[in-house]
């Protein structure tokens, strides 16, 4: 098994006719992802290297049976595209777009939770989801990862690659890699994804990679302490980040005494989660637990 995406994924890519959209859609397709369609308003009827383009997500669902969306449109159009996908009945929406206004994210998050509770949004501002050997939706470079039993969930893209690569070098693969994104209001939290990994037969160990800002890691620590029986290894980036500065990700900011890396590591360790101080150490701990 795996989480969120697999061989049953039928992907529709919003923004497929853009340069980046085409590039990554085709990349995902080459990996084996079942890319059934794309959406670009006004380009319905065209195709992108054989993948049909439709005007709306509603048409993509009814005409191509899409069940998963990848959002690859610029920030002014992203919230609309997410809502459209959800309205059309898409179950899993993975939004890569970076730079969506925080108030848009707030509205989308609250609307989906209350009005479209069965829809799962991953991202925005995330690298996507990879289930090695099954499907890749997003921009995660699949070559660094192989099938295995480590589930990875992370706020950061490159850091995920770094950790995944170190695991791979030690012979371990992944059930799924989930980038939840670095924005202030991610559609899915650590808890949401950890819950999936806990329920996933294939996953034997969970790596969660957090960073400064917000309290998602603290909340995850609480949740892990109460609900997770699988071993979890943590990492937190940003111990040396100064307060009041946004560190690249819109969500990565220490506000006053809130959201520090130290507090997050402490919260995790307080719940028995081992926290590596470098990506290498994370891989070492994972290998040690799995008895590599």
């Amino acid at each position: 098994m795996s989480v969120l995406i697999d061989k049953d994924t039928r992907l529709c890519v919003s923004g497929i006719t853009g340069r980046e959209g085409t590039f990554h859609a085709m990349n995902n397709k080459r990996y084996g992802t079942n890319v059934v369609s794309g959406v670009t308003p006004g380009k319905g009827g065209q195709d992108v290297e054989g993948v049909p383009v439709l005007n709306t997500f509603h048409a993509a669902v009814s005409e191509t049976g899409a069940n998963t969306a990848m959002i690859f449109v610029p920030p002014p159009f992203a919230a609309d595209s997410i809502l459209e996908a959800a309205d059309a009945g898409i179950e899993t929406v993975i939004c890569i777009t970076e730079g969506i206004p925080a108030h848009d994210e707030l509205r989308v998050y609250n609307f989906l939770r209350a009005h479209r509770p069965t829809v799962r949004l991953i991202g925005p501002n995330c690298p996507g989801v990879l289930s090695p050997g099954k499907a890749n939706v997003g921009i995660i470079p699949a070559a660094f990862f192989k099938e295995g039993n480590v589930g990875v969930v992370s706020r950061s893209g490159t850091l995920t690659y770094q950790i995944g690569n170190e695991l791979a070098q030690r012979g371990f693969g992944n059930s799924s890699i989930v980038g939840i994104g670095g924005d202030p209001v991610p559609g899915s939290s650590f808890i949401d994804v950890i819950e999936l990994f806990q329920a996933d037969d294939e996953t034997e160990l969970i790596v969660m990679s957090g960073e400064i800002g917000g309290s998602a890691e603290e909340e995850a620590a609480e949740y892990i302490g109460e609900h997770v029986t699988k071993p979890v290894v943590g990492y937190i980036a940003g111990f040396t980040a100064p307060p009041g500065k946004t560190m690249g990700h819109a969500g990565a900011i220490v506000s006053g005494s809130q959201g520090t890396a130290a507090a997050k590591a402490e919260a995790l360790e307080g719940r028995g989660v081992r926290v590596g101080r470098t990506p290498t150490e994370v891989a070492d701990i994972a290998v040690e637990i799995l008895g590599g």
Binding site: L106, I139, S156, G182, V185, I212, A216, T240, K245
Partner: protein, 406 residues
């Protein structure tokens, strides 16, 4: 982006939040003209993005033209905790009866705006929260229904504001919420929120943080950028569209991806070094962006060594290598570089660098090794007393193995 007090007040006023009359000024003459229009007594206030203006002498009540001149002269150019005062705000004096506190925070955990109200205004709210948490009334507003009358009443009654101003305080909070949502703020804070002796309610200070990502639909807010207050490197980076944060150390850092760069800062610190900056070259960086990034990093005269930590996903390591080669060609850096290239097209990238044989560029195979190496190089540069400036185009020579001479 943080706004200056007066920018915040002007933004408040657009949404009907009552604020005292006032005018901004950047010269003593302008300040006097403003004061003459507003009338005396009035208040001359330094406009800086830092707290503690009052204690530093940056706020003065003046009762006539002479006092206004003295105040404006004293405050313009003043240094307040490292911030130079370029602008002042001249405002009508207020006859204050009570000082409250109000704010709306974009609460990421609750995924909802969090509103705070306290009758203990005029002081640091974090202190109040610690000393007397019950003195602060707080509630979340569901963003899909928005601010309702009952939110204002509940906050006002729970905070214990004077009975006769429950209604106007509630009305002010409603307008403040309008401003928060319409202007896409991450924070709006009014401290103090004053009740004047005539029992009218006014925002006497304004602290506003806007969401930079929303600027495409708020051109007026985007134009507010208080460029003068920004660090010169940060300004330079912004112009080039780079994600850069100035830090205190001497090791320049470049990586791809915010998480990886934060992690790199941490590992360099663990190795005993002090990063000079955070610079995320972003996903899919092209050679030109890398060249510009090097320029920004080296414009900081404190930088004594630079670390490139790249794990290529969308980013192709050969593009990074090309950018670095181009940067050396254009800028001719005088400080040592440590480069770690991993991921997509890493072999091609390393081959390009090997071929280019750049002066004083050291390759590393892991992040940890790279960090240790750059710390060592920065330390030896310090020992050898490298000159302070290494601005683009400027050749300093003298650093071992560096410079355009090699």
């Amino acid at each position: 982006m943080d706004l200056l007090e007066y920018q915040g007040k002007q933004l408040f006023a657009r949404h009907g939040v009552p604020v005292p009359d006032g005018k901004p000024a950047t010269s003593v003459d302008d300040a006097l003209a403003a004061a003459d229009v507003i009338g005396y007594p009035c208040v001359v206030k330094a406009q800086v993005l830092i707290g503690g203006r009052g204690k530093a002498g940056g706020i003065k009540v003046v009762k006539d033209r002479d006092e206004a001149r003295d105040a404006a002269e004293a405050i313009l150019g003043m240094d307040i905790r490292g911030h130079t005062v370029h602008e002042i705000w001249v405002e009508a004096a207020s006859d204050i009866a009570e000082e409250y506190y109000a704010s709306i925070v974009f609460d990421r955990s609750a995924k909802a705006p969090l509103m705070l109200l306290s009758t203990q205004g005029g002081m640091d709210i974090e202190e109040v929260a610690e000393r007397d948490p019950d003195a602060i009334a707080r509630l979340h507003v569901d963003p899909l229904i928005g601010f309702q009358g009952f939110h204002g009443r509940r906050l006002a009654f729970e905070a214990g504001v004077a009975e006769d101003v429950v209604r106007p305080v509630g009305a002010l909070l409603a307008k403040l919420y309008d401003a928060f949502v319409a202007e896409e703020a991450m924070l709006v804070e009014v401290n103090p929120l004053t009740v004047l002796t005539d029992r009218s309610v006014k925002a006497l200070d304004a602290k506003v943080t806007l969401d930079d990502n929303s600027f495409y639909r708020h051109p007026d807010n985007a134009a507010l950028r208080n460029v003068g207050a920004e660090d010169p490197q940060e300004q330079m980076a912004k112009e080039r569209g780079l994600t850069y944060v100035k830090l205190d150390g001497d090791i320049g850092i470049l990586g791809n991806g915010a998480g990886l760069v934060m992690s790199t800062l941490d590992v360099v610190s663990q190795a005993g070094g002090a990063p000079a900056n955070f610079l995320d070259a972003g996903g899919g960086s092209k050679a030109e962006a890398i060249t510009q990034a090097v320029e920004v990093i080296l414009s900081d005269p404190k930088v004594k060594a630079v670390l490139f930590n790249i794990f290529g996903g969308i980013t192709r390591c050969d593009e990074i290598a090309r950018g670095l080669i181009e940067a050396f060609d254009q800028i001719k850096p005088t400080v040592p570089f440590v480069v770690r290239l991993d991921g997509t097209n890493d072999k091609e990238g390393r081959a390009l660098l090997a071929e280019a044989n750049l002066p004083n560029v050291h390759m590393a195979t892991t992040m940890l090794e790279a960090a240790e190496k750059v710390v060592e190089l920065a330390r030896s540069a310090n020992v050898e007393g490298r000159p302070d400036a290494a601005l683009p185009g400027q050749t300093t020579g003298g650093t071992p193995g560096g410079g355009d001479s090699s």
